[in-house]
């Protein structure tokens, strides 16, 4: 169990202090930056990924 914990901690160090990125007066934590990037990626994917059953629906139900 301890080995699993140490492996998990090495992959995703949740108990150590957070990392920050600074560019002039802009400072953001890496965790927040990752979430923002994931939200943008999800937004773009939601626009371009075809919805299941869309072609079938187009002909019929309104």
């Amino acid at each position: 169990m301890a080995a699993i914990y140490s492996l998990f901690d090495a992959l995703l160090p949740l108990t150590s202090p957070g990392h920050y990125i600074q560019w002039h007066w802009i400072q953001i934590s890496v965790a927040n930056l990752i979430v923002i990037i994931l939200m943008i990626a999800t937004f773009i994917a939601a626009l371009v990924v075809p919805f299941p059953g869309r072609r079938r629906r187009r002909g019929g139900d309104e």
């Binding site: 939200m39 937004f43 939601a46 919805f51 139900d61």
Partner: protein, 210 residues
């Protein structure tokens, strides 16, 4: 009681107005317009679903109390579920907000739908904030002292005292959830009343079916 008297009752008038504006088939429709078959239309429901998990786990935490969520493994698990469902809630809500912003979802007399969404977002931020200062751990101590400094800097006073754990806890588990649920309910009823906003190409081609 005569029919005229019944017609004059405020309850009768209110019921008629309500059932005319939102008949059952409009309140819970069998089909949706074809343009709703897009992933961008999924995030409103994703927000609502995660909100249900937030409320459900919050109810369990309220029943069991802080000692339970700090000391037992099941308590830790439910506490984590509460936190991560909030993360999913805000994630989905932000994607929902971007989607609706870029399709100008206030079109077609939907201003109130948009504005209730905006106020719900702000109420959710306040609910989450009071939650962060109600954790009863070092994280909540740090956040509340930083927030108190911030509020002091604005001259906000101590009516809303973030260092008062009891007050913040009550705001988090009573007042803010009531506000968030009522506003969300109103937002959904308005979406049902006005219909889901169509994409631009559908309105320009005159094919609006809302």
């Amino acid at each position: 009681m005569s029919t005229t008297e019944i017609d004059r009752q405020w309850t009768t008038k209110f019921r008629r107005r309500l059932t005319t504006a939102l008949p059952s088939e409009k309140l819970l429709p069998d089909t949706q317009p074809s343009y709703v078959a897009s992933w961008i239309y999924v995030f409103g429901v994703a927000t609502l679903s995660s909100m249900m998990v937030v409320i459900g786990t919050g109810c369990i935490l309220a029943i069991m109390g802080p000692l339970w969520w700090h000391e037992s493994s099941v308590g830790h698990f439910v506490n984590s579920l509460h936190l991560w469902s909030v993360e999913v809630f805000f994630f989905a809500m932000v994607v929902h907000l971007w989607g609706k912003f870029f399709m100008a979802a206030w079109r077609g007399k939907r201003q109130l739908v948009w504005m209730t969404g905006v106020v719900t977002f702000l109420a959710s931020v306040a609910t989450a904030f009071t939650g962060y200062v109600s954790q009863t751990n070092f994280d909540s101590q740090w956040i509340s002292t930083q927030a108190k400094d911030g509020i002091n800097a604005t001259g906000g006073g101590a009516f809303f005292n973030v260092l008062n754990t009891g007050q913040m806890f009550m705001w988090h588990i009573v007042l803010m959830p009531i506000a968030a649920v009522v506003l969300t309910g109103l937002h959904i009823l308005l979406v049902r009343y006005r219909g889901v906003v169509p994409p631009f190409e559908d309105t320009s081609a005159g094919k609006v079916r809302a």
